[in-house]
């Protein structure tokens, strides 16, 4: 059953490899790059939400920490971008771990509230600390260079992100079909059953929360360098919801659903731009229709319809 799951990975790799040669212009290459960045974040978030059954309404906050670490540390302190990215991820991991321990001893709704609160605090912090962050206007981010080579044009960025996405997809497929991944899915299925077979439920929830937060932070850094500019919107509540929506629309507990959700919801605002001012309404309407007719998300629903295990 799981061998088949890897066929999708080859398809993903082929699509990623061919894409830059068939897209008509750099607008679409940019769109593809942003889709791939979101897909990586959503893979991590789906591990938390879909596979482990927990929720985070503040993931954009973690993304913001990564993005601003990559903006502030090289600009104000002259840090190497790679070091800044690592520091952002480490700070995110630490914060997520410290926050998660007490919360996971409680129940789901507290987690939703706490992550929501954290996201809002981070977003307010970057808005207010204008001396460091540029405030609501945001700030430029230095280019990302490594070993004297500078990532500058869109094609280079695309390839970097595409490789990261292929690796992330592969690693996620591996993870869910491992002892660690089974424990995660088991605690979603029954907490008491997983604890009596020896799963330390709190520790696993903390681990996956931290892992998904660190993923978001790293991709926040990548976004910052790729766009060359950060604004507080990155860390906003609305962005957190957008990420959760990608998980839900694509399909909870579905690796390929994560990718599809990210692709569709990154494209949707572009497609709706013609609605001039009504795009948010159209966006909401499409989500509602999806939730009514595809409550399990696109990929699991279609997989069930065509008789293939998702």
């Amino acid at each position: 059953m799981f061998k088949r799951a890897y066929f999708g990975l080859y398809l993903v790799i082929v699509v990623l490899a061919v894409l830059p040669f068939v897209v008509p212009n750099s607008f679409y290459l940019d769109l593809a790059t942003r889709m791939a960045i979101n897909a990586i974040i959503v893979l991590g978030l789906n591990l938390l939400i879909g596979f482990a059954g927990q929720i985070s309404l503040g993931h954009a906050g973690f993304l913001g920490i990564g993005a601003y670490a990559s903006a502030i540390l090289p600009t104000h302190f002259g840090w190497h971008p790679l070091l800044a990215m690592g520091a952002g991820a480490a700070l995110t991991g630490l914060l997520a771990a410290v926050l998660a321990r007490p919360i996971f001893k409680l129940k789901g709704q507290y987690l939703a509230m706490a992550t929501l609160g954290l996201g809002i605090i981070i977003s307010i912090a970057v808005r207010n600390e204008a001396d460091w962050t540029g405030g609501p206007d945001g700030m430029p981010v230095p280019a990302f260079g490594l070993l004297g080579f500078e990532l500058s044009n869109d094609k280079q960025w695309y390839w970097v992100v595409a490789v990261l996405l292929a690796i992330s997809t592969w690693a996620t497929l591996n993870l869910i079909d491992s002892p660690f991944g089974r424990a995660l899915r088991a605690l979603h299925g029954s907490e008491v059953a997983s604890s009596v077979v020896g799963v330390n439920v709190v520790r696993y929830k903390v681990a996956i929360f931290v892992l998904s937060a660190v993923f978001a932070s790293l991709m926040g850094s990548v976004t910052a360098h790729y766009v060359g500019f950060v604004t507080p919107n990155l860390a906003d509540f609305g962005h957190s919801i957008e990420l959760v929506t990608m998980v839900v629309i694509g399909g909870m507990a579905s690796v390929y659903g994560s990718l599809i959700g990210a692709v569709l919801l990154t494209a949707l605002p572009q497609a709706l731009a013609t609605f001039e001012g009504w795009e948010t309404v159209a966006f909401g309407a499409i989500l509602m229709v999806c939730m009514i007719f595809l409550p399990k998300g696109l990929v699991p629903t279609l997989a069930a319809r065509f008789g293939k295990g998702g």
Partner: protein, 253 residues
């Protein structure tokens, strides 16, 4: 020294005294049954011993060492396994994976190695798949080896829980009404399965309403009534105990 010693164990839920001052010992290698009418506190007793509930007072010792306050996952490490009266099967996983989860503590659970799918880990997982399939055959679920858990009937899910518990390679297994809701044929199969488990050296603690099964299988029986110990002894002793006849068996006869 017994494998498990329970002394003066009590738990109160607000005003409800679900288990009151219950004491007993279980020797290694036997089949020990706990019986009593509905609401007598049998499941609560299991929840106390396996760490799901913390007792209000009293003592529980495994190998002579107190285990009060230890979490279920710590007790799993010490060789305790259990099934649930109200099914606790992970419906988001396949039947086979449910059994594989039982082997959790025997596996390398490293996250990085898992994400990179190191060959050693992949090999171990393939072996485990075989082992779990073997266990499913052992508990009489060969036809469900490729099934999803949420497509299985009730009786099969009861046995799936036993398979998961056995995958832990426990020393001590608690079975909470394994034959409840099963037809007579399935009940006989579960009876045989419990015998096989006991014969393999695992100490069995059984809660069951099927009196024939209990009387035939058990080395010793504990009778609970309104959370209190009414009697304890061999099946013969319990059967002849006047209190038991009056309060329990009498009511059913």
């Amino acid at each position: 020294m017994s494998l498990l010693d329970v002394k003066q164990l009590s738990i109160h839920f607000g005003g409800v005294k679900a288990v009151q001052e219950v004491s007993f010992s279980i020797d290694a290698g036997i089949v020990y049954s706990v019986i009593g009418p509905n609401g007598a506190g049998k499941t609560t007793l299991f929840n106390l011993i396996t760490g799901v509930y913390k007792p209000t007072h009293g003592e529980i010792c495994l190998d002579g060492e107190s285990i009060v306050g230890k979490s279920p996952n710590e007790l799993a490490r010490r060789g305790m396994a259990r099934t649930f009266q109200n099914l606790q099967v992970c419906m988001n996983m396949s039947a086979l994976e449910n059994v594989m989860v039982g082997a959790h503590l025997r596996l390398d659970r490293n996250l990085i190695k898992a994400a990179l799918r190191l060959p050693s880990l992949a090999r171990r997982d393939a072996e485990l798949r075989e082992e779990a399939a073997g266990l499913m055959r052992h508990v009489g679920l060969e036809q469900y080896i490729d099934a999803r858990a949420d497509s299985m009937p009730y009786g099969a899910l009861k046995r799936l829980e036993i398979g998961r518990a056995l995958a832990m390679k426990p020393r001590l297994i608690f079975l909470d009404e394994p034959a409840a809701g099963l037809n007579p044929k399935e009940t006989i199969e579960v009876d045989e399965l419990v015998r096989k488990i006991a014969a393999s050296g695992i100490t069995v603690v059984l809660v069951e309403h099927d009196m024939k099964m209990v009387m035939n299988l058990s080395d010793r029986i504990l009778v609970l009534d309104y959370g209190k110990k009414l009697a304890e002894g061999t099946s013969e002793e319990v059967r002849r105990n006047p209190d038991v006849i009056a309060a329990y068996l009498g009511a059913h006869a």
